[in-house]
Symmetry: C2
Amino acid sequence: MHITPTQLTQLSHDILAAYGFTPEHQKSITHTLVTAQQDQCHSHGAWRLLGLIDTLKHGKISATATPTITQDVGSIVKIDAHMGSATTAFSVGLPRLIEKAQQNGIALLAINHCVHFSALWVEIEQLTQAGLIAINSTPSHAWVAPAGSTKPLLGTNPLGFGFPRINPQEPYVFDFATSATARGEIQLHHRHGTQMPEGLAIDAQGNPTTDPAAAMQGAMLTFGGHKGSAISTMVELLAGIAIGDMTSQESMAFADGTPTLPYGGEIIIAIDPKILLGDDWTAHQQRSEDFLNQFNASGARLPSQRRFKARAQNQQQGYIELDDNLYADLQNLLTLAN
Amino acid sequence: MHITPTQLTQLSHDILAAYGFTPEHQKSITHTLVTAQQDQCHSHGAWRLLGLIDTLKHGKISATATPTITQDVGSIVKIDAHMGSATTAFSVGLPRLIEKAQQNGIALLAINHCVHFSALWVEIEQLTQAGLIAINSTPSHAWVAPAGSTKPLLGTNPLGFGFPRINPQEPYVFDFATSATARGEIQLHHRHGTQMPEGLAIDAQGNPTTDPAAAMQGAMLTFGGHKGSAISTMVELLAGIAIGDMTSQESMAFADGTPTLPYGGEIIIAIDPKILLGDDWTAHQQRSEDFLNQFNASGARLPSQRRFKARAQNQQQGYIELDDNLYADLQNLLTLAN
């Protein structure tokens, strides 16, 4: 079906309000989900509302938490989300992160005790639009075995990066799981009864498997072998331990067998190239354009280009594609709440 | 043959002095090469002196440059290496980077106009020994094609990361090329007339190849497909463009057909967990120990453990393994200079 961004925004607000989410949570969560839906990134779009409400029902997210700044010193800002959505805590920390990056050249925002449910790139884009370079990451649930092991010690641990381009609407942005595939892909194969490609997972005995059920009993693998494994471990240390928050193992223990969303910390680093380069930034940014323009010319697609294209198309046509069943599920969610 | 660290240090100093390198360059370069040799990382050890002197003969490194601090504001330090070795510039910038990280929680050291020739982990370890978390990276020469392309737009672009562990001698450290293999591995296959494993390179027509000669005419691939390609591109943008220095393409153009070492910039980010966590750092660091100790217990080897083992063994036995031919080459280098 077709739905306008305004309609989808209203529906998301209504659902969240019906389940007691504060206006701040309604706003930040809806912004993230509608952006993902508009970008035709269905796996991170409106259907995440189902998981979010499920998480609420299991008591693993707070609908009414107000994030508080717990530290603001030097180039560091720390926010306690008090078990609320990461998106709301990010909104609270963002202005201070931008200020500090613009003042000191580099700054770090740590979000504690937050629930993660969607894409990192939505945050990255808010930083590139402020002219900043950004890196963000978060642990998740321990579903992924490090290279050489059969034990799931790591999360899918997404890593986001953004670099401002001259067209602010199309920064260089990537945001990917450091696992070889997304958890949702395995779940999708399981639901459809299809086999997975090779190299993505192992069974409970540590043998390679293409069977989604066996994979969910076993462990997912990291992308890129021992190198991806190292990067995923870095995410646990940097976005978990170093900010005093959970590892993916601890997040999973906290979920306590419920199918709830990852809970823990997030780290966001912002760098202001105008502090590093002053007036020379303009010339160097032009060099980055020349560099990146070669990618497309040589057949490589830059990360996010498919999203940007979908976004432009959806903005032009004035509506977003939404799965009929999902719309029914969302309406149902609303009915059940009222 | 066996050589004591003292003897190898002296030999390296003598060679560098004979070719006119200043005492500061002698010291920093030797420290890096002897550390790598001691860790039995032969590819980054004493034999790099041959490439260094070759680079000097081609006029692509300065033996007498004195690095200068060009910016020291907020959480940023910039050093101009003036075409000297990156190791020397790092030594000059390190105290200020540590101070800023300890003061502001996060800080960034940018090195410009430096020649790169060895391992990033030697620098990382100096930061973990100061109790800091560290990330560093540098572009190299454009030998690597991004995913989906046949054109070498990227360097081997190593990425280093370190996290301080309770035993300061064995931090969590990784340092790897974001290419699927190291350039030196391909050169080694070429020299030995052996075929390479699959998946590492393409020929000039963009077809997969295991022939090292065809690979050197074509392009290397990134590790981990489009994700590794994205990370390698991040390195070009962050450690090249954002600090106003060369991309790997530009470094290669600067080499102008000579087999000289990469020239350009390097970025080092340091984070002080004691600022992020205060007194709680001790407890959280213990959690990281518990987390990392599970890796070995479950069959996964942590990055650098092989190096640490070799280092301990070499320290205990009091000598380092050095290839006889390499020793002869080094002696020859010394004779030729005098």
